[in-house]
């Protein structure tokens, strides 16, 4: 199990480091919101999910897409704006989707997919499918009205949904304490009538353990559950770099998270030879994915007005 978790964690970290490395060349013309430092949240929760389970995420969605098994070539090609991208170059980094892996949506508007996930959970329950929906969002989303509305409906209908709040402490550059009268997000969740617990996003194995306890209960019909996972964004809100120079946070604040880096900690528990095999395979896959993106064509002009409606000729009537 540790090898699998490490492969997933290391793969996400290295993919995003490679994106950051390539970014200054301007080959990636899409705003990237990197998950570096937050990978364990997606990897930990997804480790408890089954293939039939469904996830919804946010514009900071690379980690979730990859943790669910989203195709790496299609993701990098998407960032490059190529026709082979997971949305044919139309969605970009903020709108990754992988229907086969049940990654059903990511949004650039904070809080938006929480309600979509709740509706999906309603459909799952209506059809008596034994699937669980996991809804990933940030601490900022808990300030949106749709957060309260969605939790209320999920509890009202006892839906099979796990809410995962990735609390990285910031909405862009504004700290949580400056935005929330009651920063106790779990308490606010509990007020809607569902169990809520705070977890350490740097402790991958604990996260996996809790998710594996909770997901079967949600699947069994006990109703929704809420995780607040404390984590930290190492890079700037959007873009490839660090932003300690802006002065809204310090390197000292980041230091304990970097010292507790889940990628490195998990690596240290693996034997060296096995780890080297995993890392070599991941590096090969990344090199292949970037080469695939570079070699892929851009979409043709006809793609501009395709996909507006299912019937293409209706799309053409909207200028």
């Amino acid at each position: 199990m540790r090898e699998q978790l490490y492969r997933s964690l290391y793969r996400i970290r290295r993919v995003e480091e490679e994106i950051a490395r390539v970014y200054p060349t301007d080959k990636i013309k899409s705003p990237v919101h990197l998950s570096i430092g937050q990978e364990a949240v997606s990897v930990g929760v997804c480790a408890a999910l089954q293939p039939r389970d469904v996830v919804y995420g946010t514009y900071r969605g690379h980690a979730l897409y990859l943790a669910r098994g989203g195709d790496l070539r299609a993701m990098i090609a998407e960032l490059y704006g190529r026709a082979t991208g997971c949305t044919k170059g139309k969605g970009g980094s903020m709108h990754l989707i992988a229907p086969k892996q049940r990654v059903m949506g990511t949004s650039a508007v904070v809080g938006t997919t929480i309600a979509n996930a709740v509706g999906h959970a309603y459909a799952v329950r209506y059809r008596r499918q034994a699937a669980v929906v996991a809804s990933f969002f940030g601490d900022g989303a808990t300030e949106e009205g749709v957060f309260a509305e969605s939790l209320n409906f999920a509890v009202l209908k006892r839906l099979p949904i796990l809410f995962v709040c990735e609390n990285n402490g910031y909405a862009i550059h504004t700290r949580q304490e400056r935005r929330q009268g009651t920063p106790a997000i779990c308490e606010r969740a509990r007020a809607h009538g569902l169990p809520a617990e705070r977890l350490d996003g740097d402790d991958l194995l604990d996260l996996v353990g809790r998710a594996r306890d909770v997901v079967p209960r949600v699947r069994a019909g006990e109703g929704p559950w809420f995780f607040e996972v404390m984590t930290y964004r190492w890079r700037e809100h959007v873009g490839p770099g660090c932003d300690y120079d802006l002065g809204y946070r310090t390197e000292d604040e980041a230091a304990p998270h970097i010292a507790n880096d889940p990628v490195r900690r998990l690596a240290e528990t693996l034997d060296r030879a096995g780890r080297a095999v995993i890392e070599a395979a991941v590096e090969q896959e990344i090199a292949d994915a970037f080469a695939f993106a570079e070699a892929s064509p851009f979409p043709t002009a006809e793609e501009l007005t395709s996909d507006v409606f299912k019937e293409e000729d209706h799309a053409a009537t909207l200028r």
């Binding site: 139309k90 938006t112 996930a117 996909d307 200028r319």
Partner: protein
């Protein structure tokens, strides 16, 4: 300019014509109810919800008996959460259901704009065609008996503006049923606009299922002197205006666009090519509205082809007042429409306003709601 290819939606459904003899007369409300019932009976993916859908009034009767027939999982009232419930409807649609989300006033959609504009409309394009949102949003426009500022707005043009949304505003019981069936079967989000006064209209409605699909307007009265396009409730007023005009020897051609997006502009253009005069009457404001769009498209197509007289009528450019003394002035009616059409035909203001005919009086909605 891209040309419209007319193709009825609602696969596998016969496209019946309204003039064929129908054995029954139904109200607009009953037609909506029947379309919903038939679609729910045919496809278990269709579910119906919204504020008060399962309450004793059952949305003016449009949902009467459906909660009992299909159960609380398929027909349910929701919390007062338009934003999240619209988002949930999108999620249900992404999961393969075909939700019908009902709002007893279109004004309430302002609480749901993020999900409608940023998610429902965007999904198919943004995900490169790999996901779609087969969602129907029913929204009612109120009028009269002091509905006022926040219970009367016709905001359909907001939604026409956004690629990825379809907008339909049926004006007859026949179209109410056929358009709702087509909307439910459409694989993309459809805003279904129903005017509160239309609920009381009666007309022929076949019992069998049929679709009135996107992108096909209907000529509802033939004439050669002036083309009048009436949207939603204004279609009723325009047909009355056509009779006032006939009294003074003016033959008006009246068109019901039915679907506002995608819009069948070809039918309007063909008529204006003949008449040279176009009056568009909307149950909405004019600025950046459906009437502006129709007039602009006709002007683009016919400029240089022939001389044109163009005119729009709609809400007064102000907030809808509640007092009857001002509310009456806020809306176009059959007589003011006839007057505007005659001015177009004469090419100058005539000062004519027809005497009100008792057989062409507007029905008044009796309160309180």
């Amino acid at each position: 300019m891209p040309r419209l290819s007319v193709k009825p939606a609602g696969r596998r459904l016969p496209a019946a014509e309204p003039r064929r003899p129908a054995e029954r007369t139904l109200s607009y409300v009953e037609a909506i109810r029947e379309a919903t019932d038939q679609e729910m009976g045919r496809d278990p993916a269709v579910i119906l919800f919204g504020l008060d859908v399962d309450d004793p009034k059952a949305i003016q009767g449009t949902a009467r008996g459906l909660a009992e027939k299909y159960g609380p999982e398929r027909v349910f009232g929701t919390p007062l959460s338009e934003d999240a419930m619209t988002g949930a409807a999108v999620g249900m649609a992404l999961a393969g259901l075909r939700p019908i989300h009902v709002h007893i006033r279109m004004d309430f959609l302002m609480l749901a704009m993020n999900q409608l504009v940023n998610v429902a409309a965007k999904t198919r394009s943004m995900y490169g065609g790999r996901a779609g949102v087969p969602l129907v949003v029913r929204a009612m426009i109120g009028k009269s008996w002091g509905q006022g500022a926040q219970h009367s707005q016709g905001l359909h043009s907001f939604f026409m503006h956004v690629p990825g949304l379809k907008v339909v505003a049926p004006a007859t019981p026949y179209d109410a049923k056929g358009c709702l069936s087509a909307a439910v079967r459409d694989d993309d989000p459809v805003l279904y606009v129903e005017h509160r006064l239309l609920h009381f209209q009666k007309g022929p409605v076949p019992e069998e299922r049929y679709a009135v699909g996107p992108g096909r307007a209907r000529v509802t009265a033939a004439g050669a002197d002036v083309t009048i396009v009436g949207i939603s409730w204004m279609q009723v007023e325009c047909l009355r205006a056509q009779r006032y005009l006939a009294d003074v020897g003016i033959k008006a051609e009246v068109i019901d666009p039915i679907w506002l997006s995608p819009l069948d502009i070809d039918t309007v253009v063909a008529s204006v090519e003949k008449t040279g005069r176009l009056l568009v009457v909307d149950t909405a404001w004019l600025c950046c509205g459906a009437a502006a769009e129709i007039v602009a498209q006709v002007a683009e197509r016919l400029q240089g082809v022939r001389d044109l007289g163009l005119r729009r009528l709609g809400f007064a450019p102000t907030t809808c007042p509640t007092t009857p003394a001002l509310e009456e002035l806020f809306y176009p009616n059959a007589r003011t429409i006839a007057a505007a059409a005659r001015d177009l035909v004469e090419g100058a203001p005539t000062g004519w306003l027809p005497e009100e005919r008792s057989d062409l009086q507007s029905i008044e909605f009796k309160g309180p709601f």
